[in-house]
């Protein structure tokens, strides 16, 4: 699996078309996940990321596979972007041996060290200081690796955010704090829980650069993360990026997102990251409309096949309960 992950990672790092394909794959897989849950084929809970694909892919493009990435429970998109296969993601979600950690974790818990994905954490904010620690390793060893933490807008109100960034700033650690602002923490719109407009402004508290990034435009995300990575690799310390985006689905499996103001979703659908990037590739002559259709169909086929294979695979066995404790 790990060499396949690496290959998939290199693909999007080197090819703009592959980036488009990967965003589509994420969208299709997340839709499939919601369907699997709706059909009762999977238990527990799940958090999907439709609408946020450009953030996941942008980060994965800008970082190297030797860099470390800390993600949250809303991690399927980032995992696929970093290189994990649909089978390893779906397998995990279904609790199967083929899952990325053998099926013991479920939807919230993915990991693949071959492409730098730390265990995804289901505690809000926990990954922020952990990423600082991964960056510490690079600093101590003198490598030019960086670390990144991807977390939500809601996580910007938890203590670990403050402590993790402050520590990284004072130690000038090579880490990028990526706040994926999808405007909601569970059922609460950000303005109800957070007294400022731009979370990037919190960078001022730590005397580090803070930047607001348009999360619906893949190229802008890649750019911003690349710049932050360059700074980090040059020993200039951490950056806080606030990437504005939107979560098309509800927070988790059971959420219908009835709390959203009317029209908000539609506005964001108008700026769909896949459409924006697809149109750009067409304009650049890198894609045709027909290929766009094909890509969607291929992705659907690949995801359906992965789901079927996962479905037929053995579940995590009893030995996994006691292994790796």
């Amino acid at each position: 699996m790990s060499s396949e992950s690496l290959e998939r990672r290199e693909a999007i790092r080197s090819s703009r078309r592959a980036r488009y394909e990967r965003m589509v794959e994420i969208r299709v897989l997340e839709d499939a996940v919601r369907a699997l849950f709706a059909e009762g084929l999977v238990r527990g809970t799940t958090h999907t990321c439709q609408g946020q694909e450009a953030v996941s892919v942008g980060v994965a493009v800008a970082l190297r596979p030797t860099d470390t990435v800390c993600c949250t429970y809303r991690g399927h998109g980032a995992a696929l972007a970093l290189g994990l296969t649909p089978l390893s993601v779906l397998g995990e979600i279904m609790g199967k041996e083929v899952g990325s950690i053998g099926g013991v974790g479920g939807s919230m818990h993915l990991c693949d060290t071959s492409v730098g994905l730390m265990p995804t954490m289901a505690i809000v904010g926990a990954g922020i200081p952990v990423a600082a620690g991964a960056a510490l390793t690079a600093q101590v060893r003198g490598t030019d690796d960086v670390a990144a933490s991807i977390f939500g807008d809601g996580a910007a109100n938890i203590g670990a955010f403050h402590e993790g960034i402050n520590l990284a700033a004072i130690w000038k650690l090579p880490v990028i704090f990526i706040c994926e602002n999808n405007h909601y923490g569970e059922y609460s719109r950000i303005n109800l829980t957070t007294p400022i407009e731009n979370l990037a402004d919190r960078a001022i508290s730590f005397n580090i650069p803070g930047e607001v990034v348009d999360g619906q435009d893949l190229d802008l995300v890649v750019d911003a993360v690349e710049r932050a990575a360059l700074r980090a690799r040059a020993g200039e310390g951490p950056t806080l990026l606030e990437i504005k985006t939107y979560r098309y689905s509800g927070h988790s499996r059971s959420d219908t997102a009835a709390y959203r103001p009317e029209g908000e979703l539609d506005e964001w659908l108008n700026r769909d990251p896949i459409n924006i990037f697809g149109a750009r590739l067409v304009a650049e002559g890198l894609l045709t409309e027909a290929e766009i259709e094909e890509i969607a169909a291929d992705a659907q086929r690949a995801v359906d096949e992965a789901a079927a294979v996962a479905q037929d695979s053995p579940s995590a066995g009893i030995a996994t309960m006691f292994a790796n404790v």
Binding site: R43, G44, T45, G95, G103, V104, G105, G106, S107, M108, H109, M121, A122, I123, V124, G125, G154, A155, N157, I158, G159, A160, G185, E186, Y187, S188, L192, T193, T194, Y259, S315, A316, I318, A319, T320, M321, F322, V325
Partner: protein, 339 residues
């Protein structure tokens, strides 16, 4: 008596206290507008308004700290920790501040906070969202701890917790939120903290259970062949009903604790050590602890079901104890169990 789900009973208890006492306030993540992630505060915002029912940022340390300060100055906050694991980012406020404020004020500042939290396994939420974690909470002087096992005591314990003048943590086993039963509401429905409830009476052994394991234990007893048991729902762990337990064990001569959670640090050990100290000479068999293995909560249903002590396993362990007079091996110690 109205029939309600456990989450509705919790809501009803909070609402009844809020009606009687304007000092009761409620906050937590998505408890107001959304009525709570598990619908344990549905309708409270509408009835009591936004001054008293509030959504918080994702800031457990912040809002538990605010609960402490509000309680210390006269309110009675009921704060929700969505999954008990999250108290790991805020434990300080509960155990090192709230639980010590009365002592550290020479008795002048009481700190009547209620920290409610969903807890336990059974719904496939994975190992960071499925623990009971009573072991973090039992050994802190000044802090009370209750565990609900259904709508009835969820109502009764919650009202007591809100009325209590010190901090109380109430753990609510998540799979039980949907359990629907008749509930005695009003003053009569109030259950004192520290009181156990005998759910079934029998002769051969005293089974102590808590939360979800109450139901598994009752099922085990219902299917028991050749033996019967007192099944005691402890309801509170801190303080726990020493008297009721000792009385029962003095009669049955045997004790089993049924715990969801690791063997290490589990509440059964605490209770057992006391029973043994007091009733050593009267015990006909060694106390039996039926627990989860010392491992993380697995995601897959079959494994999670194994993790939680089930009726068949409980019956098997108790039967073995009664037959041999010895504590049988845990299932995970049996040959080949983990293969």
């Amino acid at each position: 008596m109205p029939r309600m789900r456990m989450n509705q009973a919790i809501t009803a208890a909070i609402a009844d206290e809020m009606r009687e006492n304007p000092d009761v306030v409620v906050f937590g993540e998505d408890v107001a507008v959304a009525g709570g992630p598990f619908k344990t505060s549905d309708g409270l915002l509408e009835e009591f308004g936004p001054l008293r029912v509030r959504d918080t940022p994702i800031s457990e340390m912040g809002f538990l700290g605010a609960a402490v300060g509000a309680a210390a100055t006269g309110l009675r906050p009921v704060a929700e920790i969505m999954f008990i694991e999250f108290i790991g980012v805020a434990l300080d406020q509960v155990v090192t501040e709230a639980a010590k404020f009365n002592y550290l004020s020479g008795g002048k500042v009481s700190c009547p906070i209620v920290v409610r939290a969903s807890a336990g396994a059974g719904l496939g939420f994975g190992c960071q969202h499925s623990q009971m974690l009573d072991s973090w909470l039992i050994g802190n002087p000044g802090l009370k701890l209750a565990v609900t096992s259904g709508p009835g005591n969820a109502y009764g314990l919650m009202r007591s917790a809100i009325r209590d003048d010190g901090p109380v943590v109430v753990l609510e086993p998540r799979p039980l939120y949907a359990m629907r039963k008749e509930v005695r509401t009003g003053e009569d429905g109030i259950i004192s903290l520290g009181k156990a409830f005998k759910r079934v009476e029998g002769d051969d052994i005293t089974i102590l259970a808590l939360g979800s394991t109450v139901w598994a234990s009752l099922e085990a007893v219902a299917s028991a062949e050749g033996w019967s048991a007192d099944v005691i729902d402890l309801q509170s762990l801190q303080p726990w009903d020493t008297e009721a337990v000792l009385r029962s064990v003095a009669r049955t001569g045997r004790l089993a604790t049924v715990e969801e959670g690791p063997l290490a640090g589990g509440w059964g050990a605490h209770v057992t050590s006391r029973v043994v100290a007091d009733l050593f000479g009267e015990l006909k068999a060694p106390p039996l602890r039926i627990t989860s293995p010392d491992t993380h909560v697995p995601f897959v249903k079959e494994l999670e079901d194994l993790y939680r002590p089930g009726a068949a396993y409980i019956a098997k362990q108790i039967s073995a104890l009664l037959e041999t007079g010895e504590v049988p091996a845990h299932w995970w110690e049996s040959e080949g169990a983990a293969a």
